[in-house]
């Protein structure tokens, strides 16, 4: 039973939420902020009433998708997840999700907390939530104005994870050397996931690699296979540290235009039917592996879990498609070079683009990252790019220096006008790929909901 302060915090948050609803706004963070202001221990108190405990999903890319996959999996297992679905992923987002799904006595109407957590906030939040399972998808350079250096961030996360109770299970990407070494204690319980298909990836390290050196001895890492940036089949020839054995692995990955299919193998030697996840991209295969790893940590049967994945529906701005005037808009959230390069692989042969760059806090105020992203590979194929956003002109310049001819680039400042222009340039039945940073995607979504093409995202 929550204490009096938690109850007051719960009530205050709920009232704030109702107030926002009445005025037609989505409350994905503010009610949580109110509750935490009243009671800083609010998330600790309320989450302790969850019978299956809490899982935190963090990492640079794939948090939202992995958490959503895991939500479907837990539901298929008959559990009721309390989930910060909208992607509001600081402590206030966790608090908002908890109070939205609690009654007025502060008792949760669910049995498992499923929280996507911002990687910079992870150390603080896990210390307060004491999760049963922590999933880390990957660590790439991202929003340098906020997260600063990746080595430092990885160290902070590793140090905090080492303070958690020994029962905690860490679900970690074996292919990412920065993530694979986050479990610092030798007695830590781990579930490692990775891709073991030899045909996936190349042999050349990418310019955006963030871990060219061994996390343990600092000698150069060597790669048998590079999948994306520093993710791949890595080892250190100096100290012998290498990719840990995978507990959940994809022995074969097939990628279609609208799906990805993985053949799974578990360390226990079981054989499973191939899982077809209805969203494309190698990175979504990784997200599926992360979700399956978490299912494994919760002792949810993999057969049940893979069935849930087969019916998965993508989240806000994660390869969501929207129909407008006979054209299909494919929304792709991009926020860092690794995510951009991964999205590039899915843009098709002659992409028509609507690209939007903002530099608000949630996007990262420093737009330098666009120069690390591989626009050079994209450039020769671009059919047309309509560009918008608070820093759209930086993006237009990036396209220019990547070699896209001037007549194929057009800057349109207004969100709605940009959408209309991009749509009008595409023939009927054609696809427009929308690449946008977080707040730019919110703006574009708002403009799209004005014309009735999508629902406001908090109703999602």
């Amino acid at each position: 039973m929550p204490d009096a302060l938690a109850l007051i915090a719960n009530a205050a948050g709920k009232l704030t939420r109702e107030g926002l609803r009445v005025t037609g706004r989505g409350g994905t963070a503010l009610p949580g902020l109110v509750a935490l202001t009243v009671d800083p221990d609010f998330i600790t108190t309320l989450s302790s009433g969850l019978s299956h405990g809490v899982v935190c999903v963090s990492g640079t890319n794939g948090k939202t998708t992995t958490a959503r996959m895991l939500a479907d999996i837990t539901r298929a297992a008959g559990w009721v997840p309390i989930h910060n679905r909208s992607g509001s992923n600081l402590d206030r987002g966790v608090a908002a999700a908890l109070l939205a799904d609690a009654n007025w006595s502060g008792e949760p109407r669910g049995d498992v907390g499923l929280f996507e957590i911002d990687e910079a906030a992870l150390p603080n939040v896990v210390a307060r939530l004491k999760p049963r399972v922590v999933v880390v998808t990957n660590l790439f350079r991202d929003q340098m104005d906020r997260y600063f250096e990746l080595d430092t961030l990885a160290k902070r996360i590793g140090d905090t994870l080492a303070t958690l109770p020994v029962e905690t299970t860490f679900v970690l990407n074996a292919d990412d050397p920065l993530v694979a070494n986050l479990a610092l204690r030798p007695d830590a319980k781990t579930v490692f996931f990775g891709v073991d298909d030899e045909s996936v990836g190349g042999t050349v390290p990418q310019a955006i690699s963030d871990a060219t050196r061994c996390p343990r001895c600092k000698a150069p890492l060597t790669y048998k296979r590079v999948v994306l940036a520093h993710v791949g089949d890595w080892s250190c020839s100096s100290c012998g540290l290498a990719r840990p054995p995978r507990d959940v692995s994809a022995t074969k990955v097939l990628l279609g235009e609208s799906w990805s299919e993985i053949s799974l193998a578990g360390a226990i030697g079981s054989v499973f039917a191939a899982v077809r996840v209805p969203i494309p991209g190698l990175y979504n295969a990784y997200n599926a592996l992360a979700a399956l790893g978490a299912a494994r940590a919760f002792d949810i049967g993999l057969t049940e879990a893979t069935r849930a994945l087969a019916n998965f529906r993508p989240a806000f701005g994660r390869l969501e498609t929207v129909d407008l005037e006979g054209r299909t808009l494919r929304l792709v959230l991009v926020k860092n070079p690794a995510g951009f390069n991964a999205a590039l692989l899915e843009t098709g042969r002659k992409p028509r683009l609507l690209a939007a760059l903002n530099d608000r806090d949630a996007d990262g105020r420093d737009v330098s990252w666009i120069w690390d992203a591989d626009f050079e590979t994209l450039a020769p194929a671009v059919e047309h790019a309509v560009i918008t956003g608070v820093r759209g002109r930086d993006l237009a310049l990036r396209f220019k220096y990547a070699g896209v001819p001037k007549e194929r680039i057009e800057v349109v400042d207004d969100w709605r006008a940009a959408i209309e222009r991009a749509v009008s340039l595409a023939p009927r039945a054609a696809e427009v790929v929308v690449l946008a940073t977080y707040t730019a995607m919110l703006e574009l979504r708002a403009a799209l909901s004005h014309v009735g093409a999508v629902a406001p995202f908090w109703e999602d």
């Binding site: 350079r141 600063f148 080595d151 105020r365 330098s368 002109r393």
Partner: protein, 241 residues
């Protein structure tokens, strides 16, 4: 005409999107019909330090910076100095800028020696300067984004690149940003810097080409997109800081 660009430690000093500077130098030469070759120079002895016309040296993580600092303390540091004496230009940003100075003085522990090509010294600061950086330089303004905790102070041989209008610059105290000494430039401007500040890119190109070519004249380019990006970024820096 041809141009040789050396990218210093691209595997270790590459974290803040500074690669755009190499792209800008290359493309602005390409667009003028100049042949460009870019070569990486990383840890390990450099075979041909006389090759480059211009070096680019970006910012990195602390770990990368330690490895690079150790590498530059040996033969490669001496080679870089010799290259500059032979007429090569350098454009450096953030960590690269700091390593070209005399030393970096951390809060505790012994100071880390730099190459000493620039007459500047950097001390660790308690807070980090993060934000848009607008600088007034004698030949035009410069716009970028700073993200550093080091405080850099100029000696008498180095001249500031410009005066800070918005942001902190070298040290947050004396309103200076960056340093120029001969054909060597250091600064805290990420962004990347050169695409949005094409006049500085062209100055570096002129210096670089002059090393092996006489009578270098760079024709004008259509910089409308550059100007437009500059204006938008400047507006953001002025109104949001």
């Amino acid at each position: 005409m041809d141009l040789r660009i050396a990218h210093l430690y691209p595997d270790l000093m590459n974290i803040y999107g500074d690669r755009g500077n190499v792209i800008a130098l290359s493309q602005r030469a390409n667009w003028r019909g100049i042949d460009v070759e870019v070569r990486p120079f990383s840890v390990g002895e450099w075979a041909d330090a006389d090759w480059p016309d211009v070096w680019f040296f970006g910012g990195g993580q602390d770990q990368g910076q330690d490895i690079v600092g150790a590498d530059l303390a040996g033969k490669n540091g001496a080679a870089l100095k010799k290259s500059v004496e032979g007429g090569a230009a350098i454009f450096s940003v953030c960590g690269g800028y700091q390593l070209l100075g005399h030393e970096y003085v951390p809060e505790t522990g012994p100071s880390i020696p730099g190459v000493g090509i620039l007459d500047v010294t950097t001390r660790a600061g308690k807070t980090r300067f993060v934000g848009n950086l607008l600088v007034n330089a004698p030949d035009g303004y410069l716009i970028g984004f700073e993200n550093h905790s080091g405080r850099t102070y100029l000696g008498s041989s180095a001249k500031p690149l410009g005066t800070v209008v918005v942001g902190n610059g070298n040290n947050g105290e004396d309103k200076t940003e960056g340093a120029v000494q001969g054909r060597v430039i250091g600064c805290y401007l990420h962004g990347s810097c050169l695409p949005k500040n094409p006049w500085l890119a062209d100055r570096l190109l002129g210096w670089a080409l002059a090393r092996r070519h006489d009578d270098v004249k760079l024709g004008p380019l259509d910089d409308a997109a550059e100007k437009s990006a500059r204006d938008q970024a400047t507006e953001v820096a002025r109104t949001r800081s």
